[in-house]
Symmetry: C2
Subunit: 337 residues, 2 copies
């Protein structure tokens, strides 16, 4: 295929924060699909906390991105050419790809986006490709919330956290969210229906947690680790659960990070801490997505997207995840469907 | 009742190690049972790592022992006088009591020791009152071992660890024990049938674990926390389990102790860490004890007791738990049944 491709390539493994030297934006030729492959044009690129993990060479759940390779990402695109019977020209696919305008997909790397009711492709991809099923399975399978229990959600205005809180409300829980601005606090309480919201940047966290959780904490949905985990541990009720979906507070740390100082309470209060990676649940996506689409159409789950335009904006945008600047699911729109 | 009683009372909360000033040995009068109570004579006192927790006023799973109160312990005794229909003179009871020759029991604090097959009262109490059911439920309910999996056991020559390893062998696992002397290594391998034994005081732990666990670790049975937990985390397989039965490495620390530095691997490897306290399983004791008595009579579970004589020896003996000087279940024999 003629024309130019644009590709973000990993040039340096970040030590601490992602910098402008971490990735470079290259102009390259468009690849040709071989037998069993398709070529697709990128429509939307999802930016996720896990991107920082893939840039490092620390032990992780997939191989790290190799230096000088295209950066890995969760992608949505339109098939232009297919040499595999699973896809035909015009199909909308999503899955694991790269930060590139044009790229090769296989039935192992991407799949059809599937039925999405009356939801736009961008909204469906933003919610159903990764964050919705993550929120659904991590909260329900590991957390196992019961009506009347107290659920504390970190990064509550984030892509996963905002859905976790809304599902916990659907399940009849008292839901408390931690987030990083008064505007985000307002959004999760007034628009999403959280019972309480804590601005972790301005409030005294132990006091605010104690006030918001008069019956203790039954589930702490952890996406951050660090000091907030330590504070929540102190309030965990007997047999509490800590589904661990991320540890964003430590991804950018160049030094070894100690685990929680209140680790001993895992024993004393018979807590369960369990790690979660969505890869273990790929075969159960239809279950989650059917529930989430229904809740969205009933107005019980609302999502907010933080969209930047153009693939060239991806590096600037992804940094926002680690400063808390984004509001809602962070996305790059390359070309609307 | 006439005669003298001897009682160990908590005088100081230990900061760091238990010292000779932590408890005092008092000569007192023998208490009189009220309605609903019985008086029993202590036969055996179990010394357990959890004693150190009860001496502190840190957050724990039962109220701490109050200063100047009799020290709490797991006890076995013979009923001398009963004002409750549950017990009659001559009954052997066991449960939660105090470090005292003569003491009051209630149906809520002690129960009949129950059928014990051909096993002596001392052996039955040592194994069935606390450590056997702890090993059984913590390994099987939380660890859920499958045949062929690798199980690493900390404090493997200790009271709980030695039974955990033997149950794991019964379940068809590859079992590796960590303990603190060559003699204990020999005992767990040659007498108890562990596949591998590591002397954590003399061997390089990461090398020894890697060599002993060529297929990684599926279950790390943790009774110690600290650096051994950190080393095991590095070798945990996907979806590994860490039943946490104790954290003895940190009980004596006067300073805050950080959690494991490899905490992030809980996420990356989707591990489960879950705390265990035997109090949650009191109603299921018959299930565990039936299985353990059968295994003991078949020679599949062997126990070793470390017995000191006389209640006055209790303070000296309990310190051995924190230096690893004991070999097997630590007990005080006050008066044989």
């Amino acid at each position: 295929m003629s024309g130019k491709n644009h590709v973000w390539r990993l040039r340096e493994r970040p030590v601490g924060n992602i910098t402008d030297d971490t990735l470079s934006f290259e102009s390259e030729s468009i690849p040709e699909p071989k037998d069993g492959e398709c070529l697709f044009r990128l429509n939307y690129l999802s930016l996720d906390p896990t991107n920082r993990i893939w840039m490092s060479d620390e032990e992780q759940y997939m191989p790290p991105v190799a230096l000088n390779d295209p950066m890995r990402g969760v992608v949505c695109g339109t098939v232009l050419k297919s040499n595999t019977p699973e896809f035909k020209e015009g199909d909308i696919v999503s899955g694991i790809g790269t930060w590139a305008d044009y790229q090769i997909g296989t039935p192992g790397s991407v799949g059809l986006l599937g039925a999405i009711g009356g939801i736009s492709v961008m909204n469906a991809f933003a919610t159903l490709a990764l964050v919705g099923p993550s929120a659904y399975f991590c909260l329900l399978d590991i957390g196992a919330p019961k009506a009347g229990e107290t659920v504390v959600v970190s990064t509550a205005a984030g892509a996963v956290g905002s859905i976790v809180g809304q599902i916990a409300k659907i399940k009849g829980c008292h839901v408390v969210g931690l987030t990083g601005s008064d505007e985000k606090c307002r959004w999760i309480k007034e628009d999403l229906g959280f019972d309480e919201a804590i601005n972790y940047k301005t409030e005294n966290i132990p006091d605010a947690l104690a006030r918001s959780c008069p019956n203790g904490i039954d589930i702490y949905f952890d996406s951050v680790g660090g000091s907030i985990l330590d504070e929540c541990l102190k309030l965990m009720n007997l047999h509490g659960r800590i589904p661990t979906c991320g540890l964003i507070s430590q991804y950018n740390s160049p030094d070894p990070v100690p685990g929680p100082y209140n680790y001993g309470l895992i024993l004393m209060h018979r807590l369960k801490i369990q790690g979660f990676i969505i890869l273990d649940y790929l075969d159960r996506f239809p279950e989650a997505n059917e529930a989430i689409v229904n809740w969205m159409s009933e107005g019980k789950i609302k999502v907010r997207l933080d969209v930047s335009d153009g693939l060239d904006s991806a590096l600037h945008s992804v940094k926002k995840l680690y400063t808390g600047e984004n509001t809602g699911k962070l996305m790059v729109r390359v070309k609307d469907v």
